[in-house]
Amino acid sequence: MITREVVIKTDKLTKKFGDFIATNEISFEVYSGEIFGFLGANGAGKTTAIRMLCGLLTPTSGHATVAGFDIYKQTEKVKSNIGYMSQKFSLYEDLTPRENIKFYGGIYGLTDKEIKGKSDSLIHQLGLEMQADKLVGSLPLGWKQKLAFSVAIIHDPKIVFLDEPTGGVDPVTRRQFWDLIYDASEKGITSFVTTHYMDEAEYCNRISMMVDGVMKECDTPSILKEKYHTDSMDEVFFELARGAKRTAD
C-alpha cells in the first residue's frame, strides 16, 4: 500500500451552511484500488463530504482532487471518472435491467457495442438472465442493489462512491454485495463507502471516523481496534461518537 497512486486527496476541506459547519477541515488520502470506509453518525457530515467530492456541492474552503482532477475547476472531468450510488435506490423501476444498463451506459458515453457487451456480461455475472427483460420494480431489493452497483461502475470509473449502499438488505445479500465491491477493487476501482453497519467497516481496507464534521480517526480497522483496546469496531465507534453533540440530520 506504500507506493500506491493517490486517487482522492483532500486538504482542509470545509463546507459551511450559514453558521453550521457541516465538514470542518477534513484532510485525507485514498489510494487506488482501496476500499475506504467513511463512517460517522447521522449528521456527522458524511453526505456533505461525498457531495463535495462528486462535484454536487462547492466547498467553502480547502482543496481536493478526485482522480487527479480539481473539484473546483474540473468538475466535468471528475464526473466522468467517478461512479455514484446513493442510499436511495437509484435505478428506474419502470425499465428493465437491460434498459437501465443501456441508459446509464448511454449517459456515460459508451458505444452501443460496449453497452451490449457490458450488459451481457453483467447480466450473466449477476445471474439475472431470467429477469433481464422484466421490469426492475419486480426484482427483490437485494438484486436491485447489486444491479445498481454494477450499473454505477458500468463505465469503469476510477472511483465509485457508495452512500450507504446496503441499507435494508439482508446479511447474505450484503455479503454478496461486498463480494462485488472486492471484485471491483481487484479491477483497480477504488470504493469510497459510507455505512452504518460496523461489520461492514471490518471489510474495508481503511476507515475514517467523522464526528460533528471533524475527521477523528483514519486508519486500518486493526490499528484502530488496537488503539482503543477492543476487538470490535462497534466499541471504537461508540468510543468516538460518545462526544458527538449533533444528533440526527
Binding site: 454536487l56 437509484s90 443501456k102 454505477a152
Partner: protein
C-alpha cells in the same frame, strides 16, 4: 448527442409504460370536447313555455305557430289567464310565458300600439335573458314579414348579424378553451411530476453526478410531453372539425406554432414548480390548484372576463392561457392572420422567456 438520445429513449419508456397516465392524457381532451361540445352547451333548446292568448285571432294564431316552429321553444300548453300562468311557473318546468292582450288584431290593424307581454323565470337569469331575446327575435321577424301590408310611416328596425359564429354555437368558445386547458394541464403537471419523481427516487442525484449536462436533462424531460401535447392538439382539432363541425378558418401552421409557444410556457412553469418542490404530491397539488383553477377562471371561455371586477381582470392578464385563448379564437374562428395576433404572441413569448430564465436560474442555484 448519444447521451441525449439515451435519455430521450428512457423518457419515452417512462411515458409509455405508465398506461393509466397515458389513458388519462388522451382520454381527458376527448371527454372534455364531447362534454363541452354537446352536454354543456349554452344554447337553449326546447324550452317549455306557455302561451296565454286573450285575443284569439288570426295574427296571434300565426305568431303562436311561429313560436312553436322554433327549435328553441316547445309550447307546453295554452292557458286561459294570468292565474294559470302563475300556476304553470310554480309547477316548475315552464321557463317563459307569452301573453297576447285582448283585441290584438283589431288594435294592430287600427294602427294602435300593441304589446306582447313576455314573462320569464328569472331564477336563472342567464337562461331568462337568452330566452327573452329568442322570443323578441321571433316577434320582430314576424313584424317584418307583415311590413308590406302595413303602411306604418315610422318603423326603425334593427338587424343583428352574428358574425364568425352565426349559429351561436357554444362549441366555438369551448374548443379553444379546452385546447388551452389541456395543453396547460399536461405540460405543467406532467413535467413537474416527472422531474420531481427523479428527485424522490434518488435518481436525480445520480444524474447530477453523471457527466450529463443538467440542461440536457431538462430538455429531454420536456420533449416527450411536447410531442404528446401536439398529438393531443391534433386529436382536439380533428374532433372539433369532424364531430362538432367547427372548421379551422385560419392557418393551421400558425395555430400549431402558437400552440407550441404555449406548450413551452407551460413546460417552463412545470420546471419552476419542480424546482421548488420535492414530492410528486406537492407538485401535483400546486399544478392543479395553482394552474387548473386560474386557467378555467381567467381564460375567458367559461366566465366572461368583461363581467369581472377590475382587479380580477388585471389578474387575468397574468394567466398565459388567456392570451393563447384570444390567439386561438382569432385564428380558428375568425380566420385572422399573424398580423392580428402578434401582440398576444409577443406577450406570451415574453412570459415564456421570463419563466424559462427564472426556472433555469433556480435550477442552477440548486446545483451549486
Amino acid at each position: 448527442m448519444k447521451q441525449f438520445l439515451s435519455f430521450l429513449r428512457k423518457e419515452f419508456h417512462h411515458v409509455f409504460r405508465d398506461r393509466k397516465t397515458l389513458l388519462l392524457l388522451f382520454g381527458m381532451p376527448i371527454i372534455q370536447i364531447v362534454l363541452f361540445g354537446f352536454a354543456l352547451t349554452n344554447e337553449i333548446k326546447n324550452s317549455k313555455i306557455v302561451v296565454c292568448d286573450y285575443s284569439k285571432d288570426d295574427i296571434t294564431q300565426r305568431i303562436t305557430e311561429k313560436i312553436a316552429a322554433s327549435k328553441n321553444f316547445e309550447i307546453k300548453q295554452s292557458v286561459l289567464g294570468h292565474k294559470e300562468i302563475e300556476q304553470a311557473f310554480k309547477s316548475g318546468d315552464i321557463k317563459l310565458a307569452v301573453i297576447f292582450p285582448s283585441a290584438f288584431q283589431t288594435d294592430l290593424e287600427a294602427g294602435r300600439r300593441v304589446q306582447v307581454q313576455i314573462i320569464a323565470d328569472a331564477s336563472d337569469p342567464n337562461t331568462a335573458t337568452t330566452l327573452t331575446s329568442y322570443a323578441t327575435n321571433i316577434l320582430r321577424d314576424f313584424q317584418q314579414d307583415m311590413q308590406p301590408l302595413q303602411h306604418a310611416p315610422m318603423n326603425i328596425s334593427t338587424t343583428a348579424r352574428m358574425i364568425y359564429n352565426p349559429d351561436l354555437k357554444g362549441a366555438t368558445n369551448f374548443v379553444p378553451g379546452v385546447m388551452a386547458l389541456v395543453l396547460m394541464l399536461i405540460c405543467v403537471l406532467m413535467t413537474s411530476a416527472s422531474i420531481v419523481r427523479e428527485k424522490e427516487n434518488g435518481t436525480m442525484e445520480v444524474l447530477l453526478v453523471s457527466p450529463m449536462n443538467p440542461l440536457l436533462v431538462i430538455i429531454s424531460k420536456a420533449i416527450p410531453y411536447l410531442l404528446l401535447s401536439l398529438v393531443n392538439l391534433i386529436i382536439i382539432l380533428l374532433l372539433s372539425v369532424y364531430l362538432l363541425g367547427l372548421p379551422v378558418k385560419g392557418n393551421v401552421f400558425l395555430l400549431f406554432g402558437e400552440s407550441t409557444l404555449l406548450i413551452i410556457t407551460a413546460l417552463s412553469l412545470g420546471l419552476l414548480i419542480s424546482n421548488s418542490t420535492s414530492s410528486q404530491q406537492t407538485a401535483m397539488m400546486i399544478s392543479i390548484m395553482g394552474l387548473l383553477l386560474p386557467t378555467v377562471m381567467f381564460t375567458g371561455f367559461m366566465f366572461p372576463l368583461e363581467n369581472m371586477p377590475k382587479p380580477l381582470q388585471i389578474i387575468s392578464n397574468l394567466v398565459p392561457s388567456k392570451w393563447y385563448y384570444t390567439i386561438v379564437k382569432n385564428i380558428m374562428i375568425k380566420g385572422l392572420g399573424f398580423s392580428h395576433v402578434w401582440k398576444e404572441t409577443l406577450i406570451l413569448a415574453g412570459m415564456t422567456v421570463f419563466l424559462l430564465l427564472v426556472s433555469l436560474q433556480k435550477f442552477k442555484i440548486r446545483l451549486s
